[in-house]
């Protein structure tokens, strides 16, 4: 572990005079950080500036298909927000999404950490085989992932139903896994977990390799048990990784869109299979209620910030 870099202002005058006084920086140097962030800021403004502005303003407007085709949108204040927050459907979808996110993110983290620890403890060939398998799963593009899984769980010719039917007394041939909403979301969760664990496991494993052997050996000599070592030494060291990984999983699983959309396309139609992503898409492009969709997106953003505020604050603190 390197000591936390305190972001010293290392920039000096171009000549290598190491004794140059640092207090009086020339104007050009003070401008440097701004020059450096300019491309990124510009890219953000160009790509997201107008859409975000459009979204914020239209969340306060009556903006439907008629407005899309030229009628002037009418300012309606908070009406879109009120409509969403007082109706039951938005809350139902939000709740479902949060539950889905919680389960999927936690299972992903648990499996990822577990497998990373296991990788540390097993022989090289076993570790390598797992790493290769994980890289393969991770490399699969989402559309390909979903297509393959759809084929695995195909009701008639899928290998999953075939294998399950080998169990005496079980006949799953023809069983469709996507009808029951619980089963639908379970399938979605399994697929997303399958694809997300590699990132977590490999990251945590890379983090574990940075826990120096000397420290663990010393602890072992002191008679620390495996569990104690994990809790006292290993976890604190990899804690920063775990925090950021958990935050990422939470954000990604909460705003999951592609997997649900594709899974719905395989035959599970309708809003009982919706999570926030598909719900907002359906409201907007699907049904032409762009104003309401924009309001829903704003609420989701605020909600996500609130949900992750603890982590964000922690990250910012570390950043200083």
């Amino acid at each position: 572990m390197t000591s936390p870099a305190t972001a010293p202002a290392v920039v000096d005058a171009p000549t290598p005079r190491s004794d140059a006084p640092r207090a009086t920086k020339p104007r050009s140097v003070r401008a440097l950080p701004y020059l450096l962030v300019t491309p990124a800021v510009l890219a953000l403004l160009v790509g997201l500036g107008y859409p975000l502005y459009w979204q914020v303003t239209n969340s306060f407007k009556e903006y439907g298909l008629a407005q899309q085709f030229g009628q002037a949108p009418e300012w309606v204040g908070l009406a879109n927000y009120v409509e969403l927050l007082t109706g039951s459907q938005f809350w139902a979808v939000l709740l479902k999404s949060v539950a889905f996110m919680a389960v999927t993110a936690l299972v992903t983290m648990a499996l990822g950490i577990g497998l990373a620890l296991a990788m540390k403890a097993v022989n090289r060939w076993a570790r390598l085989s797992l790493q290769v398998a994980m890289l393969l799963a991770w490399a699969m593009p989402i559309v390909a992932q979903m297509t393959v899984w759809n084929w695995l769980i195909d009701s008639r010719n899928g290998v999953l139903n075939y294998v399950l039917s080998l169990i005496p007394g079980v006949d799953m041939i023809g069983h469709n896994w996507l009808v029951n909403p619980w089963s639908f979301f379970a399938v979605a969760s399994v697929i997303i977990t399958w694809a997300a664990v590699p990132f977590v496991a490999l990251s945590v494993y890379a983090g574990l390799t940075q826990v120096s052997g000397e420290v663990t050996e010393a602890a072992q000599l002191d008679g620390a048990s495996g569990f104690q070592m994990l809790r006292r030494i290993t976890l604190p060291i990899i804690r920063p990784i775990l925090v950021i990984l958990l935050l990422l999983q939470m954000i990604w699983d909460l705003r999951v869109y592609a997997q649900i959309e594709l899974l719905q396309g395989f035959g599970a139609a309708g809003d009982k299979y919706d999570l926030l992503g598909t719900y907002i898409y359906g409201l907007g492009i699907g049904q032409g209620h762009f104003g309401v969709a924009a309001a829903a997106a704003m609420i989701v953003m605020v909600f996500t910030i609130g949900l992750s505020w603890f982590y964000v604050r922690e990250l910012l603190k570390e950043d200083n």
């Binding site: 290392v10 890379a206 990784i241």
Partner: protein, 281 residues
């Protein structure tokens, strides 16, 4: 080490190997199915091994009329452009926030975190209007502009950790030895950052390569489909009504191949890079 310990290790190894097989199974099944002919694939009894299979599924995909080649070109161009621009811009931004204290730094950091929490689906209409207004629909540049903006925040965040992890003293030391600032940076800092650049590159690559929702809005013409759009259409039932699973799986394999190639190229640096940023935060 005691015997018991090593026995436990062996059992654990076998268990992990089993997990590896389980994890790789969907990928294996995709490859296996891609070599099966239509009758074997729709048989009730699955065929477990691809031996004696057929290449016909692949020739069907690669046949000029399937649109695969066109989509591959489009995807490669969009991904390459977005990746390069995103990494350069993000790297500069990361340099700024990890090496300098300046006014507005905190707001910039907050902004890049919050932008990631914005649901993308409600902005499609506005993004369409914007790109259409710039007359960039169905073009590589048009969609890349949006992709770059959506990938940059996380990439900056990731790289920030790496840059912070390279002690500035190293650079200074090199400068004392007579390097220019730029020379010192290139010789000392940059090599240390390579894993970070690779890791964030992998992230950006996957994000862009996978995206299809925005693509379906911005790329309407048949000639400008990307691979995910192509595969989605390709996996729909044919005019004969049946999904030709063999061909669809062959298509899936081919869509995944560039990612796997990319992973192979960067694999050595990737694993170490995955984490450096976060650990060193």
């Amino acid at each position: 080490m005691t015997r018991r310990h090593s026995l436990g290790r062996r059992i654990g190894s076998v268990a992990i190997f089993a997990v590896a097989l389980l994890w790789a199974f969907p990928v294996y099944w995709m490859i296996n199915s891609s070599f099966q002919s239509a009758p074997t694939i729709s048989a009730l009894e699955p065929t477990w091994l691809p031996f004696g299979g057929t290449w016909r599924n692949y020739s069907a995909v690669l046949d000029g009329s399937s649109g695969f080649g066109q989509a591959m070109r489009m995807s490669l161009m969009i991904t390459a452009l977005s990746l390069v621009v995103c990494i350069i811009f993000a790297f500069l931004g990361a340099l700024a926030i990890s090496r300098f204290k300046f006014r507005g730094r905190k707001s910039f950091v907050l902004a890049i975190i919050i932008v990631q929490m914005l649901p993308a689906e409600a902005m499609f209409i506005a993004q369409y209007k914007m790109i259409a207004g710039l007359n960039l629909l169905n073009t590589v540049i048009g969609i890349s502009v949006i992709y770059i903006a959506s990938v940059i925040p996380f990439t900056v965040w990731m790289l920030r950790g790496f840059v912070a992890g390279v002690p500035a003293d190293l650079e200074e030391a090199a400068m004392v030895d007579g390097c220019t600032r730029f020379g010192a940076f290139m010789r000392v800092t940059f090599p240390l950052l390579a894993p970070g650049l690779v890791a964030s590159g992998v992230y950006a690559f996957i994000q862009v390569w996978n995206e299809f929702a925005l693509a379906s809005v911005l790329l309407t013409s048949d000639a400008s489909q990307t691979l995910p759009l192509w595969l989605r259409t390709f996996a729909e039932p044919s005019t004969l009504g049946m999904i030709e699973w063999g061909q669809v799986m062959a298509g899936s394999v081919l869509v995944a191949v560039p990612v796997i190639i990319f992973f192979l190229i960067v694999q050595n640096r990737m694993t170490s890079g995955l984490v450096g940023g976060a650990v060193k935060g």
